[in-house]
Amino acid sequence: MYLHPLLAKVPPAEREALIKRSELRSYRRNETVMAAQEWTDCIYCVTSGLMRVVEHGSDPSGDVTTDFIRRNDFFLGPSLSEDRYVARQTLVAALPSSAYLIPIPVARKLCEAHPEVAMGLFEFAATRIRALRSQLRKISALSSEDLVSRVLHQLTQLAPASTGGFDKRITQAVIASYTGLSREVVNKIMRDMESRGLVWRDEHAVHVPADFASTDIGGLQADEPKAGGANS
């Protein structure tokens, strides 16, 4: 049975009670887990797959994927002090996924009884802040090509395929909504990378060179990354 690392020190009886009061749900790819502007009374603990958080603009072209929630990570909503909240974002399954829906009062009681659980959740939130900072910097400062490379590399960690690379079911539309670029631009950049042999596909995955991670440190290296130039 699924056991989140955060609950390792919680006595088995309480753990079972928590699971009994939670609901395990499965979602198809692209299924909406939680819709913006709807009431929800849960936090979401992803047990498999990958979800994305979507902020909405005044029309659908303004929708942006702000972050991904992977296995063992949480979507926590705006506060744990209220029992329910109106979702400000939409949560969508980026891959077939499952999640525990934990009622907020249940999560709060657990935090009160076990300070290390509260601390653990706080660490998750702090990690998320760091990820958002890094993404904000990338979106604001990187060239489109560097940004796409960096995101493709991130996807190899968020949505690893069994053969390496990232799961090819992650569409270019998703990549576009996460990079803040148009689908056309993402498509052109990825085609270009493929034609230069940097990016290649197999049955399951899109493969990305390891040094795509390093474009994040750099400013504007428009030139082709050199092999082994991880620090360039």
Partner: protein, 242 residues
């Protein structure tokens, strides 16, 4: 001594001990509170003024202000589980500021004894997550003009001037680094807004119309969910090009 609403519900002795362990420092505008790569053992809690968090890229043009930390808010650094860590961002005073430096170790011990403090910290962090998601959307999806308009409006809340509007000491280069635009674009956009009478200045503040907030609406003001696409699109574009 005032510290933070985080600890307001605690027994007096606990609060006093935390205050005792903390240090209150003042910073001039543009002074660095914490430099990237510097070791720190503190949480930074703003008592007055405004700080900004800067994430660094390689070139000079790659520095980005990812967030502002205002009075009563905390800068949550890279780690809460370790007593000290190396800063991964720079923290700069955007206005003259006073800041409580609270030892992470002391705060953590307090959290272990009082889960409600951890929950309050968690709520602060979740609020920050929400703000940053909103900012990511704006930076990604809004036109330069809408983005600048929205940031100016945010500044009226983050750095209010006593005569209304926002504190004019917030420079265009700060606005540029927060909106991910060049200074030239911000300058041009703001000049244009001034020439159209939308934005005006006095001795203390830069004044911004209320409807600059509306460029941000993910939620239409009347609460409709936008299933009537054509009508909604019309009003959305009105909002956006006002």
């Amino acid at each position: 001594m005032y510290l933070n609403t985080l600890v307001s519900g605690l027994p007096h002795a606990e609060r006093a001990a935390l205050v005792q362990a903390s240090e209150l420092r003042s910073y001039r505008r543009n002074e660095t509170v914490l430099a990237v790569d510097e070791w720190t053992e503190h949480l930074y809690c703003v008592g007055s003024g405004l700080l900004r968090v800067v994430a660094h890229g390689r070139g000079t043009g790659a520095d980005v202000t990812t967030e502002f930390i205002r009075r009563d808010d905390l800068f949550l650094g890279s780690s809460f589980t370790e007593d000290r860590h190396q800063a991964t961002q720079t923290l700069i005073a955007a206005l003259p500021s006073s800041v409580y430096l609270i030892p992470i170790a002391a705060m953590r011990k307090l959290c272990e004894r009082h889960p409600q403090v951890t929950l309050a910290l968690l709520d602060l962090a979740l609020k920050r997550v929400g703000t940053m998601r909103g900012q990511l959307r704006r930076v990604s999806a809004l036109s330069s003009e809408d983005l600048v308009g929205r940031v100016l409006h945010q500044l009226t809340e983050l750095a209010p001037a006593k005569t209304g509007g926002y504190d004019k000491r917030i420079t265009q280069s700060v606005i540029a680094s927060y909106s991910g635009l060049s200074r030239e674009v911000v300058n041009k956009t703001m000049r244009d807004m001034e020439s159209r009478g939308l934005v005006r200045r006095d001795d203390h503040g830069v004044h911004v119309p209320d409807d600059f907030a509306a460029t941000d609406f993910g939620v239409p003001p009347d609460g409709q969910d936008g299933t009537d696409a054509p009508g909604k699109r019309g009003s959305a574009s009105l909002e956006r090009c006002s």
